[in-house]
């Protein structure tokens, strides 16, 4: 997995609440058996007309946001299905950090597995960042995972919380499976004990 340490980039504002996984990547694109190539279909139905031309006023089609690496979004981002195609599409587009007041649980976990940092902040601070993102490409935000701080284009510093284990994995680009396999003995002894206690499982 790609490391996430410090990011300075353009933030795109998406104030809509309840942006769901069907909006992020419609199911017609879930038929791939690959993990890559979903970026061009990110937000497909909001981003393109049926003939494939771009919908001009969609935020990521605007010249100032085409290279956005951060999303500032409304409440409950990523609700809906467990499809990891959603964070795959987001990462493939080039977005590495999403800020919202809340995220759906499965999407939140999936993001970390793909080098994306989802940040939860109170409404007032999301409002500050949303306003900053509205300024366009001259407003580059900085997200520092080590320091757990976002710095707006005006220099305002907003601290954020992140789970220590998830932070460690992101900072170092660690693969969960490898880490878990180091605990094979614990898993084995759990299995031995469970086989005694609940042999029907």
């Amino acid at each position: 997995m790609e490391k996430f340490q410090k990011l300075q980039g353009i933030a795109a504002p998406m104030p809509l609440v309840n942006i769901d996984t069907d909006m992020i990547i419609p199911k017609v694109f879930l038929k791939s058996i690959q993990r890559t190539g979903f970026g061009k279909n990110l937000f497909d139905e909001m981003r393109y007309n049926r003939d494939g031309t771009e919908i001009e006023d969609f935020v990521l089609n605007k010249p100032q946001y085409r290279n956005a690496e951060i999303l500032v979004a409304g409440d409950n981002f990523g609700c809906g299905s467990s499809r990891e195609h959603a964070p795959w599409a987001i990462a493939d587009f080039g977005i590495k950090c999403i800020v919202s007041t809340s995220f759906a649980d499965i999407f939140f976990n999936n993001s970390f597995k793909n080098g994306i940092l989802p940040i939860v902040l109170p409404q007032e601070q999301v409002d500050v960042l949303m306003a900053d993102a509205e300024k366009g490409q001259n407003a580059r935000m900085t997200v520092d995972l080590e320091a757990q701080e976002i710095t707006t284009s005006d220099g305002e510093v907003i601290p954020f919380e992140v789970d220590a284990f998830k932070k460690h994995c992101l900072l170092n680009g660690l693969d969960d499976i490898g880490l878990t396999m180091e605990k094979a003995d614990s898993i084995k002894s759990f299995e031995d004990k469970a086989a005694q206690e609940r042999p029907w499982v």
Partner: protein, 467 residues
Amino acid sequence: MSPKTLYDKIWDAHVAHEAEDGTSLLYIDRHLVHEVTSPQAFEGLRMAGRKVHAPEKTIAVPDHNVPTTLDRAKGIENEESRIQVEALDKNAKEFGVHYYPVDDVRQGIVHIVGPEQGWTLPGMTVVCGDSHTATHGAFGALAHGIGTSEVEHVLATQTLIQKKSKNMKVEITGKLKPGVTAKDITLAVIGETGTAGGTGYVIEYCGEAIRDLSMEGRMTVCNMAIEGGARAGLIAPDETTFEYVKGRPHAPKGAQWEAALNWWKTLYTDEGAHFDKVVTLKGEEIEPVVTWGTSPEDVLPITGVVPNPEDFSGGKVEAARRSIEYMGLTPGQKLTDIEIDTVFIGSCTNGRIEDLRAVADVVKGKKIKDGMRAMIVPGSGLVRAQAEEEGLAEIFEAAGFEWRLAGCSMCLAMNPDQLAPEERCAATSNRNFEGRQGYKGRTHLVSPAMAAAAALTGRLTDVRELI
């Protein structure tokens, strides 16, 4: 010992390792797999030279992409869908997991097949790369959806890296009124809490109205816990549960059954256990409900009217405006005046035998409205067979419904069952998101009985007028 919730008990019984910060390796008893969220996970194993850790605890079935038309034996037309199903065929064989292929009568929606075959048992941990895994919580199993990276992690290690969620109690007191079903309960709860109300929680549903539900009804309630944002929904197992489980192909037998039963009977929330959040609804106050918008929280009693965006606050004002426009509705319009083009009955929410019986009760001896497109897609081949045995299929066909083979079908429209732009559907499924049932398609979520009523009248209808 301090009193524990049901969630606490199942959690404690499955922690294989716990780090100082509470990050735990939760052991997984059952891993259900389908064709959409697994190919990249199996590929990951292959590339790393890893095996499936516990193939005997892993059960695969194709459901999302499979055609549900009667001619499906001729194969899947869409190339990408076909490749995905073929990939599952191949992976199931190569890695040696239990498998129900498309032509097996036991094939169906993964969340219907698991319980039906007795794979899902009380007190288990169950995961699947599908958000509606919450369904299995109806058995008092801790069940939740995971992404593909986690699917790979469970395949490789039979564990999941988790931190414990908070406990939330949702109590439905009293009795339901006639015409009100499990679907109305679960939608009413989401209407109350919002789609993010459960974020960070595992919900335990309890109260007289929940106890009174069949296993089918309980699965409907837990199925939509995810639409309320919860990591999982749970219902404590009781005699109804044990009765359902007993004798299923993979349920324990003989002395093991007795041992299992002894443990299952300890799976309830202790008196005085702590819940971080409590929501209570009165069962007798719940009415048959429908959704008017594009989020499952957009719920109103069928007697209501389309709301005005200005009735909301914050970001919801704009979301409601967008929803009402997308749905082609007018604020103040009576919900019962909304005309329906299509009725879809099925899905992991409402594709079980009891759901089909509820439909048959409403449509028996009647005809669906002229020009109505109405389909019934059973949740599994065995549900289909049972409905035929009980004479339900004849009732459906006589009424004018299409009677399909098992699969996810128009719930998410990955197969050819899709809505056309602006086609309006009363659906027994679980999501009314924009484009969910087809590009620009319009979905109203309802119970099976309400969907049946809409099929007869051609508009959203209060089923209580027909019973």
